[in-house]
């Protein structure tokens, strides 16, 4: 057994030269040409994925709005009318939570299949597979920004004027993308090798949906539960969107910086995990 372990991971020295060799071969040193190359390729891949997702119809993008609208109607009528959740401006409250959640879960679901569904690019020399999760997270962000138009309409309907804190939106989007990407990278890598990673993800997302204050508020919950909710980074993001859009006040910077820092660390770990597995993709992909 011990012998096998030793064989399983090459000696540190051997690993070093192999990694170095690859760098020499395919990660040419920084130059404006390579920046332009990566940018061209990235823009192209994003537009391709968008076209594939929306079946090449211009109306296709409108369909991304259908899902949150249906959710809004259902939750507003059930929770807002029947169960009467006691939250002022409940449709707005719900809308902020749902849009943020949808972007998060949609991005992760797409990311999980991003490598497994695009084996063709793996066969191109010099392609960095990490681009695929980056592309789908970018698409999730684009969809999110588009879906914010629903919120804008609702805000206008309820005559809630936008305040200065709205300018914090790009920052919130940035932090959410960071968090999404941190989880997307290991997910994309695991889905290639393990058949059930996708199912596990969808179960986990279903749980997380109800463990995040999206359709309900936590104000009246006991103190011990507050700690539990504070451990969920999405709680802070959802609250931050509500703060800037509905309440017109600045978000909780302390909590947000915690989320940002945690996401950064997770992103580093996720990146290393992804890169350590990417040479297996060709062997494992089906």
């Amino acid at each position: 057994m011990v012998h096998e372990r030793v064989m399983a991971s090459p000696s540190p020295a051997a690993k070093g030269t192999a990694r170095q060799a690859w760098r020499l071969a395919h990660e040419t040193s920084f130059s404006w040409k390579s920046v332009r190359y990566v940018r061209d390729l990235f823009v192209h891949l994003v537009s391709l994925e968008l076209r594939l997702l929306h079946k090449r119809s211009r109306l296709g993008v409108a369909w991304t709005l259908a899902n949150p609208i249906v959710q809004l109607v259902v939750f507003t009528s059930i929770l807002g009318r029947v169960l009467t959740v006691d939250v002022p401006y409940y449709p707005l409250f719900l809308c902020c939570g749902l849009l943020c959640w949808n972007a998060f879960s949609e991005s992760l679901t797409m990311a999980a299949g991003s490598i497994a569904n695009a084996p063709n690019v793996l066969y191109q020399p010099g392609f960095r597979p990490i681009m695929m999760p980056l592309v789908v997270v970018t698409i999730g962000l684009i969809h999110f920004v588009l879906s914010l138009s629903i919120l804008a309409v609702l805000l206008a309907y309820y005559r809630v004027p936008p305040g200065w804190p709205v300018i914090a939106l790009p920052l919130l989007l940035g932090i959410q993308s960071l968090l999404t990407l941190a989880l997307a990278l290991p997910l994309a890598a695991l889905t290639v090798s393990f058949d059930d990673a996708k199912h596990l993800l969808s179960v986990a997302l279903r749980f997380l949906f109800f463990l995040t204050p999206i359709v309900y508020a936590t104000d009246t919950f006991p103190r011990t539960l507050h700690l539990f909710y504070a451990a969920n980074p999405l709680t802070h993001l959802v609250r931050a969107y509500r703060a800037i859009f509905i309440d017109g006040r600045w978000p909780d910077w302390l909590a947000l910086s915690g989320v940002a820092a945690g996401s950064l660390i997770a992103l580093l770990v996720g990146y290393r995990f992804f890169e350590s597995r990417r040479f297996r993709f060709i062997e494992d992909v089906e």
């Binding site: 390729l41 063709n120 020399p125 010099g126």
Partner: protein
């Protein structure tokens, strides 16, 4: 002359998994990571060293399973070497598995764009060359149809046409020099010769001695022991054929 590529002491081994290898995360977590570990390894080849110079065509000959495709995949950066390294100066373009690099739901034109960008062309260059590539592959009328509607010959010709229109410094060709009819082959050879005139090096792998003899400036014989011979094609091929007649074909055995 400065080599475009230096391959130094290259070795690659593959993992062999037991049949009971868990394919799901749940099983892996329950059974511990140990069961998910490979049962053993086998080396495809070890200690392979050679250099590739501008403007030459280097043939790689060897039997099935000798590691020709593995060697090309390593050069393309699709796999990672387990020992040794490859030093590369320039842009590489590869024809490793025709049709595999195309996306079935995208149109021919979109695939040309993807491959072109991946091979280091700018958007403007790709746009300018799309028609030319389509014409070379003989599929001009179908450029805007999705690739899933293409025949396998059309896919192979398209892949080939893209690869030889991206101005690579090194072109890797795996067994597939002869796709399409003789007219298409003739055009491919002419185009490859023109690229070589401009300094492109071509690596051509094949198990057919005639292919190597007709096209290559140098030949390299690869087998389970590693690099068996490197030199003028006729000498290498003679040694290869003399040996190949004697040796029974064996599958690589497990490493203890």
């Amino acid at each position: 002359m400065i080599p475009l590529m230096r391959v130094v002491d290259l070795g690659k081994r593959f993992r062999r998994y037991p049949a009971s290898r868990p394919r799901s995360l749940v099983e892996t977590a329950m059974g511990g990571w140990r069961r998910a570990a490979p049962a053993n390894f086998f080396w495809v080849f070890r200690k392979v060293s050679f250099e590739v110079f501008p403007g030459e065509m280097l043939g790689i000959i060897g039997r099935n399973g000798a590691g020709k495709s593995t060697l090309l995949s390593l050069m393309a950066g699709l796999l990672r070497a387990d020992e040794g390294y490859i030093e590369l100066h320039g842009q590489i373009s590869a024809l490793l598995d025709l049709g595999r690099s195309l996306h079935p739901r995208l149109t021919g034109r979109e695939n040309i764009r993807t491959s072109g960008l991946l091979n280091g062309l700018t958007s403007r260059q790709v746009a300018a060359r799309a028609e030319q590539i389509g014409a070379f592959a003989g599929i001009e009328e179908f450029l805007d149809a999705p690739v899933r509607t293409y025949s396998s010959g059309m896919k192979a010709r398209l892949t080939f046409a893209v690869a030889i229109h991206t101005d690579p410094d090194i072109l890797l060709i795996d067994e597939f020099l002869f796709v399409g009819d003789q007219f298409f082959q003739k055009r491919c050879i002419d185009r490859i010769r023109a690229l070589m005139q401009q300094g492109t090096a071509v690596l051509l792998s094949s198990h057919i001695p005639g292919t190597i003899a007709d096209n290559c400036d140098r030949a390299l014989w690869l087998d389970r022991a590693g690099l068996r011979a490197l030199g003028p094609p006729d000498e290498v091929l003679e040694a290869y054929q003399a040996k190949a007649d004697l040796e029974p074909r064996v599958r690589p055995g497990p490493e203890p």
